[in-house]
Subunit: 432 residues, 2 copies
């Protein structure tokens, strides 16, 4: 019997199933990511599309890929003799590591000096551009889902608040305006957006976790959570740059080869783990790690040792893992729920909020020479951070129910996709 | 209760445990890998050492890292609510993906033209250097473990047959002999060694699998297995280069960015998966993929698009995963079993065979100007491929027992480590 078990394992090796899953995801996301870019959309659009298709193959009687749809945690006990179930969980966990690496590279690509250059205008644009969608989302959430906890309404607002810069940057480049003041302001504000978004996420998660003890949440608890989140971020800001330099110096002392990648990932995983210890989401730590890592010291090291830079070393790992995350997200978009008119209506309302909320940004522009209308439109597209909010909201629970129900989740994803579709024509029009 | 389950998950997030495990492995292997290199040993030595230390912490009353020691498959049902067990399995599967990437890069770094240059001498050296340890290992296995199946004896011989070039190359460089004829022959023969080794592995695995039906193995079955393995390799050789080029061309047609990595990994995972389908080990497919991928076409693409080359893109991913494999191997080395004198004796016998077996290589050198003794000594070090054999042998089962028992496994690992330690002084001496 034991030997029979082994034979079974050999012919349905879970690693083979994991590889097959990754292979399908890699090839499909490459194809549809490229196609999305050809029609002027971000690659993540194509990656989500792949997930949606793979997740709804059962509508066409194809069940072979259902194993990818694990919902972990959720099932307490798993039959590990089932290699497909096992492979699904491994791919799911890889997708979450992809998410951590994604946030790390977002942080790495964020230049704090860029933010300083646009200064106060970017800050005021960012603050208005976060507060308005947050308030509008909260209000609409309370109207549409009156039976849910107020944290759910806050969560919807938060998910709609973070701008994704990619598509705007490309359109501005096409229009020859990538060096314009509008472009600089949007870029700076979008970066601050991410920081605010992750701070809000930290706070909302803290509130949800502490609400485990009862339906009411005390103001004191919220204070503690905000204190925790800000002290983590401040502590990371204060000691992080030094720590990242120490890690690099210690690595240098070891004299080995290929130290940059290990030093960088060590720093990223360490902050992610500390964030998790303090009750924050690991992605907050990963983003902070990318943001505050002493880029100058790492760049000098790369140059001195004639090695590729850290960004270039992390990129291939990110490219391998991150698309898995967006596919796993797409898998959760249930096409059948779209047949429900209330879901489409909700998506429409979210889209309106997402568009209107960012128009407040134009009020934050002080200079008269800047096209305010273009700044407001340029801030419309939501992207990775919004999708990550949706994914996290679908997994967290409050009062025994998921924070985002399946239909709210689908409506949010649809609204986020729609924002990236309407931006290019609107932005071109705004410059006329 | 459901909410309580979630709270539990948040504070003991399996991804946090996975990250912590990877973090410990990354940092420790970097430190001990560098230290090993400083004392003139390959980095893999330090990685194994880390694994052995982590795996034997329980001797000092430290049990926090025991979760890394999962033995999968083996347990049928797993409590997935236990995030540590789950993390252990994920890290184990990541280590196996690391192994696949390791073999892919070994293949990528193998230049077929290099092999052609040294030609017949390298071939005869390689053949003798594989046949002798195989025969000696088989014989000694039959003497030491008479109660086991003959396939076990064959497996021990096979594990002792593949040379690892790294350490010899470094010593020859230190001696200023890296361009010498000895060096060229050793390099060419070591590459052929790997090919033969993987072919033998394929055959032995096939025999073990087919023996599931009964204790006796028919010659006909063995014939089928050899046919399968050689036809896979031949098929890969014939169509692989073309296929790798088609994949690249199709990717180019998509116009996206960063196509090289996805094309390369697609080809690697595809061949690994096909190998698994035909009953071979996936690493055979991964190695074949690296070996036959049309390196010229891929290099031209990288140059034309001013992108890093495929090797440089795979390297960071390999660097992240491969050390995990060697640490997981080291974890299985039970220090207590070393207290058993019979294990140390067995290791000593294996070491003698490993050294003597490769001295046959000197008979394969035709030219009188070449230092034959140096060729024989230079072929002594065993490394990655030998260790991989040991790891696979520990997991496969024949007649309800693991092919390599825990003590045989430890003896093999010790003998392999010892070969790399004795080579540098012997090689220096051989040139006097």
């Amino acid at each position: 019997m034991e030997s029979g078990h082994y034979v079974n394992y050999m012919h349905a090796d879970p690693i083979a199933t994991v590889l097959l899953g990754i292979l399908i995801i890699l090839v499909a996301t490459r194809i549809f990511g490229s196609l999305a870019e050809r029609i002027g959309q971000p690659a993540v659009f194509g990656e989500l599309f792949v997930g949606i298709v793979l997740g709804n193959l059962h509508l066409f009687g194809i069940y072979q890929l259902e194993f990818l749809k694990v919902d972990y945690p959720g099932t307490g006990v798993i039959n590990f003799a089932d290699p497909e179930h096992c492979a699904g969980i491994v791919i799911d966990i890889m997708s979450r590591i992809g998410l951590i690496l994604l946030l790390f590279t977002v942080g790495l690509n964020t230049s704090l000096s860029q933010m300083k250059r646009t200064g106060w205008t970017a800050l005021s644009v960012a603050v208005l551009g976060v507060l308005m969608p947050l308030t509008l989302g909260w209000t609409v959430g309370a109207i549409l889902l009156p039976e849910r906890h107020w944290v759910v309404h806050l969560f919807i607002g938060a998910a709609l608040s973070a701008t994704s810069i990619g598509i705007t940057a490309r359109v501005l480049e096409d229009l020859g305006r990538s060096k314009s003041s509008e472009s600089q302001i949007i870029l700076g504000a979008a970066i601050l957006d991410d920081v605010f978004g992750l701070l809000i996420l930290a706070i909302v998660q803290g509130i949800i976790l502490s609400s485990g003890s009862g339906p009411t949440i005390h103001l004191g608890q919220i204070g503690i959570i905000i204190l925790k989140a800000t002290s983590f971020l401040l502590g990371a800001m204060l000691f992080g740059q030094l720590a990242s330099r120490w890690i690099l110096r210690f690595s240098e002392f070891l004299h080995g080869q290929r130290l940059l990648l290990v030093s960088g990932l060590t720093f990223c995983f360490m902050l992610a783990w500390i964030a998790n210890l303090t009750g924050l989401d690991m992605i907050v730590g990963a983003f902070a790690a990318g943001l505050i890592l002493d880029k100058c010291a790492y760049a000098r090291y790369a140059e001195a040792h004639d090695e590729p830079r850290l960004k270039e070393l992390v990129q291939p790992i990110r490219d391998l893992f991150a698309p898995i995350f967006f596919v796993m997200m797409g898998l959760r978009v249930d096409l059948e729920s779209m047949a429900n008119p209330s879901v489409l209506m909700m998506a429409g309302v979210f889209l309106v909020i997402a568009v209107l909320g960012k128009q407040a940004c134009s009020l934050g522009v002080f200079s008269r020479d800047t096209n305010r209308w273009a700044v407001g439109v340029g801030m419309i597209p939501r992207g990775e951070v919004g999708l990550i909010f949706a994914a996290i909201g679908r997994q967290m629970e409050i009062a025994g129910q998921p924070v985002l129900s399946s239909s709210t989740f689908v409506a949010l994803v649809l609204a986020i996709l729609a924002t990236t579709m309407i931006t290019p024509p609107m932005l071109k029009w705004s410059f006329k």
